[in-house]
Every structure is written in structure tokens, then in C-alpha cells.
């Protein structure tokens, strides 16, 4: 029963299978460069053809079936934050190759060129609905949104920054898990991000974690599942172990909808499922609820 356990620990495979077409994944800016406006995109879920311009206008949510296409970190920041309010921080932190892992340098180079991203998370400060906040937005295109030392460090710094400046924090998770190319150092980022988050909590600051498709492995099993409030986009794959690992380890049949947002809501793991088009509004409202008032109770 268990002998295949290690053979089958293929965290990334499931995710890769579900990858949406490269064209749809790219950030708006990038896509514009590559695709003429008249192009059609096929919806992953309902298989209908969508005029690309309409898809972009609809925040990459299928107008027909509400399927949420993956989007890049900058796309999110652009549509979520008050215009002109975002200020990137810690952009100078990037991945090295700390354990000389075979092919990692090349992988990094290639991903950086293809995505025009420096790292798998963008961190900074900005405003939503006028409320200042600290922000961390992951990008799946950067090695499956995996968390290596640089991603971990940027998140730790933004959490520490939030604690120091008394800002609420919002993170957008999208990740296949830890970045194995950095070995144990990658695992340690789970502890590093969690402990930095404790500082946010000690200061009585709000932390909202938004889970998007997919949020699995070491990212779900660290900061992303520890939000005061946890929001998921509809239909997102969220969990600890990948479906293939589970099936190969346990021979269990997994029900339809297993590890999707709706499943997690039912099982008490998240607070809310919010459509991407409502997300800005919901975040603004939640942030406003937690703005410090004069009438606050002193503890």
C-alpha cells in the first residue's frame, strides 16, 4: 500500500497538467505584446471561444462559465490597487543557486526572460479603497509559484514591514509548493514566513490570505493557511498533498471537486469564496472593518 509513496510524490505534475495555455497565463502587458487584439481564447472549463479582449476586460474570468484563468502578479496589482498607489518593495531580492542544484541557474534565467519577472512574488505597499496595506502577490509563471529563499525572504520582509508600520497585510497565494531546487532552505521558508506572520499577529494587525488556483504544498501549509480571514477564488485547487500522490499512496478515489475552493469552504478551512470581479470590493470592505478607530478597545 505504501511502497509507492515516494515514487509518486509529484507535487508539480498535477498542476502542470492543468496549466492553462501560455497565452492566457501571461500578464496583460505581456499578452498584449504577443497577441493581436482580435485573437480568440478557448475556455479551459466550458470550452467556449472567448474574444481575448473580452477576457482581459473581464479580469480573465470566463464570461460564460465564470472559470477563473490564472493571472500574473502585476495584472492583479493593476486591477486591485487604487491607481498609482502601489509602491514595490524588496524588488532587489532574487534567487541565487544556493545548493548548486542541477539546471537551476538555467531554469531561473529562462523563466526570468519569459516572464519579465525577477522573482515568484511581488511585494510592496499600496491602497485598496483608500486603505493602506502591505501586499505580497505570487506569480505561478515563476517556476510554478514555488517558494524558495527569495520568495520566502520577500514575504518575511513584507510581514516585518507591516508589523513595523502597523499595516494590514494581504497575500495572494498561487503555488505548487516549495522550490525543491533550493533543498532544505526552501523548506525553512515555511518556518520563516510563519514566524514573521506571528509578529503581524502580535501587533494585532489584520492578515488576509487570498488563495488562488493552485495553492498547494508548503505554501498552503505555512503562511497561506494562517490568515485571520481566508478568501479563495472560485474553483481554485487548494490543499496539502497533490491528488496524484494521494491516489498513488492510498488508492483512494477522490470525489469530484476534491480540494477545490468549494470543498474547502464546506470543510471549514476558508471564510469566503469571492469571484475575482468582487475581490477588490470585498477586500476594501474587510480592510475598512479593521481600520483602527478611536473607539478601539484597549487590551
Amino acid at each position: 500500500m505504501f511502497k509507492d509513496l515516494f515514487r509518486s510524490k509529484q507535487k508539480y505534475v498535477t498542476i502542470r497538467q492543468r496549466e492553462v495555455p501560455e497565452s492566457a497565463l501571461h500578464a496583460t502587458e505581456t499578452v498584449k505584446k504577443e497577441l493581436p487584439d482580435g485573437l480568440w481564447v478557448k475556455c479551459e472549463k466550458c470550452n467556449q471561444m472567448i474574444y481575448h479582449k473580452d477576457l482581459v476586460k473581464n479580469l480573465k474570468v470566463c464570461p460564460k462559465c465564470q472559470y477563473h484563468f490564472r493571472i500574473g502578479a502585476w495584472e492583479r496589482i493593476n486591477y486591485l490597487l487604487d491607481p498609482g498607489s502601489f509602491q514595490e518593495l524588496f524588488a532587489n531580492i532574487t534567487s541565487g543557486d544556493p545548493i548548486n542544484f542541477p539546471g537551476y541557474r538555467e531554469k531561473l534565467e529562462q523563466v526570468r526572460k519569459a516572464t519579465e519577472l525577477k522573482e515568484g512574488v511581488v511585494t510592496g505597499v499600496g491602497k485598496i479603497g483608500g486603505v493602506p496595506l502591505a501586499l505580497g502577490v505570487m506569480d505561478f509563471r515563476f517556476i510554478g509559484g514555488s517558494m524558495g529563499s527569495a520568495v520566502g525572504e520577500k514575504l518575511v520582509r513584507i510581514f516585518e514591514y507591516a508589523a513595523e508600520h502597523e499595516l494590514p497585510v494581504v497575500t495572494f497565494a498561487v503555488s505548487g509548493g516549495a522550490r525543491m531546487h533550493e533543498g532544505i532552505l526552501s523548506l525553512m521558508q515555511m518556518a520563516a514566513t510563519c514566524q514573521a506572520l506571528s509578529r503581524v499577529a502580535e501587533k494585532g494587525l489584520l492578515y488576509i490570505s487570498v488563495l488562488t488556483d493552485p495553492t498547494t504544498g508548503g505554501v498552503f501549509a505555512s503562511f497561506a493557511s494562517q490568515g485571520d480571514i481566508i478568501i479563495a477564488e472560485p474553483g481554485a485547487l487548494i490543499g496539502f498533498a497533490g491528488a496524484r500522490v494521494i491516489q498513488q499512496t492510498t488508492r483512494q478515489t477522490l470525489p469530484p471537486g476534491f480540494q477545490r475552493s468549494e470543498f474547502l469552504l464546506e470543510h471549514g478551512m476558508i471564510d469566503l469564496i469571492v469571484n475575482r470581479k468582487e475581490l477588490r470590493n470585498t477586500l476594501a470592505r474587510l480592510l475598512r472593518y479593521h481600520q483602527r478607530r478611536k473607539r478601539v478597545i484597549n487590551q
Partner: protein, 322 residues
């Protein structure tokens, strides 16, 4: 060799072969009443140096095999040998008692401590009962409960890590495996009592880290600690799980590798041939190392303890800052 002689690993075969020969010669000599003691002594000497050569030059993959050895001492055996007056405490007060994670009260020398560890089975039946030592969320939630209790009563915490990984199962996912692991990690970062972690066998990813955050991280010579199993890594990278040995090398999972990047504080030497060849000796060494490490931190002010713990995990990333 006290235990485990019937389970021999690939790389031990030449040694086992030689040991078998020695035994044959001894029997032959006895039977024929010939004095061959000098010859035997010479071959024994040869065997000893072969053993040293093998065990001082183990590849990472060979260490993984030792760490997974079916006769490697488990937590309950170490409890028996290291601690006094163990009282096991059960349950998460929420859903279930998880036999894959054992916890309770014990004395280390004369210090009352809370101890926690993954518990593999020592035979097939027990392995099924203990789910091969892989906890469900309730195991980690029991750990959290007992750790907070330790904090309430000002008891140091000692954890023993030996797990292939947090259990990847349908029910485990339903009950929030990721949440349980994360919560355990979060709690450990702020517990106001000293925590000593001993990685005794397998340090399998998040399932290990969930009871692996502490002030002192000790690791047995042949244990491994990795973000992903070598097989899993090989599967993903090269679509070929059989290249696990290669992946074990690439991932830097041995105690030496981890000491080099300061993920662990100290390597605990094993008896030649591995912990299972002499559990008593092994336990004695572990006890001594825990005691020394615990004594160095037990009188620290909780704020200082927490500041140091924070810094410890804060500086483990290796990145480029332009």
C-alpha cells in the same frame, strides 16, 4: 551487532559476506579442532576496516536507506532508553487520537519535560496501526495541544522527528492537513519554553518541520532532512523515480550538508553500522547531547529565547540582494 542483522542493505553486502565467511571458518576450525585464531583475527580486522570504510563514506542515498531501516530505533524505544517516568497523553480534544504522533510527560535526568515524536511501527501490524508514522491533522493538533500545555507549565519541549511526510490521504485533506502543519509551525515559533529538536531518522518535508521548529536542532549522523523525498524529486525533475540516488545527492539532505547551511546545530554521531546496531549506545549519546543543549538554553529569559529563535530561522534563506 545487536539488532537488525537480518535486514541488510545493498551496500552492506560485502561486509555481511565477510562476516558470514568468518563465522564459517570459526565453525570449521572448531569442528576440525584446528587452531585458526590468528587467521580469524586477521580477517576480523579486515572486516572492521571494511566496515569503517563503508560507513564513513556513505553516499546520501545510502544514508537515506539507513534512516529508513526497518530496525532503526523508533521514538518509543528512545523514550524507554533516554527518559524516565513517561506518561503518554492522548488526543487532540477535537476529533481523534493519532497513534502516529506520540506525546506526553517525562523526566530527562530530573527535568520534567514534554516530549513529542513521530512513531513508526516496529512490525507490519503496528505500522498499520500507526499509519507508518505519518500523522493526520489530529496528530499535529495533539502536538499543538501538548506544546501549549508545556508552555503553560513552563516545561521544556523535546521533539523527535522521524517521518516520511505528513500523511497524504483524502481524510487528512478534508480535515485540513495543511492548516494543521502550518498552525503547528506557527505555534512553535512563539512558544515561550525551550525547544530541542532531534531528527532521528527521516525528516520528511512539512510533516517533519511541523514538530521541527526549535532552539536547538540536533540530527543523527545518518538521518536525512529534505524538502521532498529523493524519489519525488527525481520523478518531477527527470520523470524517473529510480534516479532517487542522484536526487538525494542534489538535494543536500545529509546531516553534514544541513550543518553547513546552519539548518541544524549539531550532528549526533551514530554507532558504526548505524543506530540500529546499538540502540543503547545511540540513546546514551542522544541523551547526553539533548541535556547539554537544553542546559545551555533552559535558563534564558523567554524573550531572549524567542528573539534568538526568531533570528535562527530568519537567517536560513540564501538569496541574492542586489
Amino acid at each position: 551487532m545487536k539488532n537488525g542483522s537480518k535486514y541488510s542493505l545493498d551496500f552492506e553486502r560485502p561486509l555481511k559476506e565477510l562476516e558470514k565467511r568468518i563465522e564459517e571458518i570459526r565453525l570449521f576450525a572448531e569442528e576440525k579442532q584446528i587452531d585458526m585464531s590468528e587467521e580469524i583475527a586477521r580477517i576480523e580486522e579486515k572486516a572492521r576496516s571494511l566496515k569503517v570504510e563503508i560507513f564513513k563514506n556513505l553516499t546520501p542515498w545510502q544514508k537515506v536507506q539507513i534512516a529508513r531501516h526497518p530496525k532503526r530505533p523508533t521514538f518509543l524505544e528512545y523514550i524507554e532508553l533516554i527518559f524516565d517516568g513517561f506518561i503518554e497523553l492522548h488526543g487532540d480534544r477535537l476529533y481523534r487520537d493519532d497513534p502516529a504522533l506520540v506525546g506526553g510527560l517525562a523526566y530527562l535526568a530530573d527535568i520534567p519535560v514534554t516530549i513529542l515524536g513521530h512513531q513508526k511501527g516496529r512490525d507490519t501490524k503496528e505500522n498499520i496501526y500507526r499509519n507508518f508514522g505519518m500523522p493526520h491533522p489530529e496528530g499535529y493538533r495533539k502536538a499543538i495541544r501538548l506544546m501549549k500545555q508545556a508552555e503553560k507549565f513552563g516545561r521544556p519541549i523535546i521533539t523527535f522527528v522521524d517521518v516520511a511526510g505528513a500523511y497524504p490521504g483524502k481524510e487528512a485533506e478534508e480535515r485540513g492537513q495543511g492548516e494543521a502543519v502550518a498552525k503547528a509551525i506557527m505555534e512553535m515559533t512563539v512558544l515561550k519554553v525551550p525547544i530541542v529538536v532531534v531528527i532521528t531518522g527521516e525528516g520528511g518535508s512539512g510533516g517533519a518541520l511541523a514538530i521541527g521548529v526549535g532552539d536547538r536542532i540536533l540530527m543523527l549522523e545518518n538521518a536525512y532532512y529534505s524538502v521532498i523525498s529523493p524519489e519525488g524529486c527525481a520523478s518531477i525533475l527527470w520523470k524517473d523515480a529510480s534516479r532517487a540516488a542522484e536526487a538525494a545527492e542534489a538535494l543536500r539532505i545529509t546531516a553534514e550538508d544541513l550543518l553547513a547551511v546552519e539548518v541544524i546545530d549539531e550532528i549526533i554521531p551514530e554507532p558504526l553500522g548505524g543506530a540500529h546496531t546499538n540502540p543503547e549506545e545511540m540513546a546514551g549519546t542522544i541523551k547526553e547531547r539533548i541535556l547539554e543543549n537544553l542546559n545551555a538554553i533552559i535558563d534564558l529569559d523567554p524573550n531572549e529565547l524567542l528573539t534568538k529563535r526568531y533570528q535562527k530561522f530568519r537567517r536560513l534563506g540564501r538569496y541574492v540582494e542586489e
